[in-house]
């Protein structure tokens, strides 16, 4: 597999910990989970 500049899983983890777009950690977790479903499908 190619050597990528970033790992999407790490980016999504960072997004889950980033309170600049949503203060509630539970909401962030649910949204990121939804993003995974949208982007990745069955992870």
């Amino acid at each position: 597999m190619a050597d990528y500049e970033f790992n999407l899983m790490e980016l999504l983890e960072e997004l889950e910990n980033d309170d600049s777009w949503e203060p509630d950690p539970e909401v962030r977790k649910a949204i990121v989970m939804g993003l995974v479903g949208t982007i990745v499908g069955r992870a």
Partner: protein, 396 residues
């Protein structure tokens, strides 16, 4: 969830009808996707960023069309702004301004040579190879990708808020979700793992070719997907007490293209393994059928009587009724071609024939054979006439 008398009556009628007891009223249902916005004269792109305005428009049809239940989810199926933020055209708003279309042909899919990469590192392939191919925003720098993901997350928040408001609005109307996709503990739903290859990774044509040319690779991927399944949220023993409507769901995607042996291996046997323990405790499974699939119906006699609620797609319901109508519930009653092109009287005559044939003894709930997607799907005049008739004729 509403607890009013009307809601309770509707639940009772659904449980009675799907348990082969004649209900006080044959439940009348619908599955809608984008059509409600067309009914309200609103374009998706005008309201997609405004959850309140979208909810108001989307639920307007409920003022004119009475329904007892809905199937699948009541809300927006695809977060179109998420795809926009990530630079993907796989879902986009059609020229009518409202209908969202899926364009699998434009996807850069997995090649046959890449099965080994997928099998060797499933998670890495799913997270880092496929998304980069089909989401332009993930092809650039880390900073650009992160900014796009953040924008997509904000868009998804708006999308989820819209669906939350839609859920509240439909609950306020005391309409029953037949097979809730969220909201309370469920018996596990079932989506055949092969459909991941069919829908997302290899595409319709190549996934079906792979079944013949490289079945060992297909099976290896299915084994990986199965090994990653989340455990069921509720045990069969606890399930019935926790679910007001004892229904979960399954769906056909590739299934109508499979031969009988493939269907058994890829869908029916794994479905039975998951669903049967819950069915033995009283669960019912809503099958959202797609395509032509009369050849698959005989299998369902292996399951407990009354444990399936089957919505037909292109098949003739009268033929389906001969095969399985004494054993499982059919959700049918009007086909979309007739709703679109027939006269009002032809539509009502057809609906009456369905009620007269399928209704006695229970095992019948009324539903169009397809979801309402775009304004071109139905004649509104016919639709309103049909629902007025069905709501009246199905009462004892």
């Amino acid at each position: 969830m509403a607890n009013g008398t009307l809601y309770e009556q509707r639940v009772k009628n659904l449980v009675d009808a799907t348990s082969f007891r004649e209900p006080d009223k044959v439940p009348v249902g619908i599955e809608v996707i984008w059509w409600p916005l067309e009914y309200a004269g609103v374009k998706l792109y005008d309201v997609v960023d405004d959850p309140v305005a979208l909810t108001k428009a989307y639920t307007q049809f409920l003022d004119d069309i009475e329904i007892d239940y809905y199937t699948m989810a009541f809300g927006l199926a695809h977060p179109i702004r998420v795809y926009d933020a990530l630079g993907s055209s796989q879902y986009r708003i059609s020229d009518d301004g409202t209908t969202v279309q899926h364009t699998q042909a434009e996807l850069d899919l997995m090649t046959a040579d890449e099965y080994d990469d997928l099998i060797a590192d499933y998670q890495g392939f799913m997270y880092n190879v496929m998304p980069r191919r089909n989401y332009k925003a993930l092809q650039g720098s880390r900073a650009d990708a992160y900014a796009a993901l953040k924008q997509a997350a904000v868009a998804l928040k708006t999308h989820n808020e819209t669906n939350r408001l839609l859920g509240e609005a439909i609950a306020a109307k005391e309409v029953v979700p037949l097979n809730p996709m969220f909201g309370w503990p469920l018996a596990p739903s079932f989506f055949a793992p092969f459909n991941l290859l069919f829908d997302n990774l290899r595409g319709v044509k190549d996934a079906l070719i792979d079944l013949r040319r490289r079945p060992e690779k297909v099976n290896a991927v299915i084994d990986i997907i199965n090994s990653r399944q989340m455990p069921a949220m509720v045990s069969p023993d606890d399930y019935l007490n926790m679910s007001p409507i004892p229904a979960s769901w399954t769906i056909y995607h590739s299934e109508c293209f499979l031969n009988n042996q493939q269907f058994d291996e890829l869908f029916f046997q794994p479905f039975k393994k998951i669903a049967l323990p819950y069915m033995e405790k009283g669960a019912k499974y809503f099958l959202k059928g797609e395509g032509l699939f009369l050849n698959t119906l005989d299998r369902y006699r292996e399951l407990p009587k009354g444990s399936m609620i089957i919505i037909l797609d292109q098949d003739d319901p009268f033929e389906a009724y001969k095969m399985i109508g004494d054993y499982h519930t059919l959700a049918t009653g009007i086909n979309m071609d007739l709703l679109k092109t027939g006269t009002k009287q032809q539509c009502i005559d057809y609906v009456k024939r369905c009620f007269d044939t399928f209704g006695p003894g229970g095992g019948f709930i009324f539903s169009p054979q397809k979801p309402l997607i775009s304004s071109y799907d139905v004649s509104v005049e016919n639709l309103i006439a049909v629902y007025e008739f069905a709501n009246e004729y199905g009462r004892k």
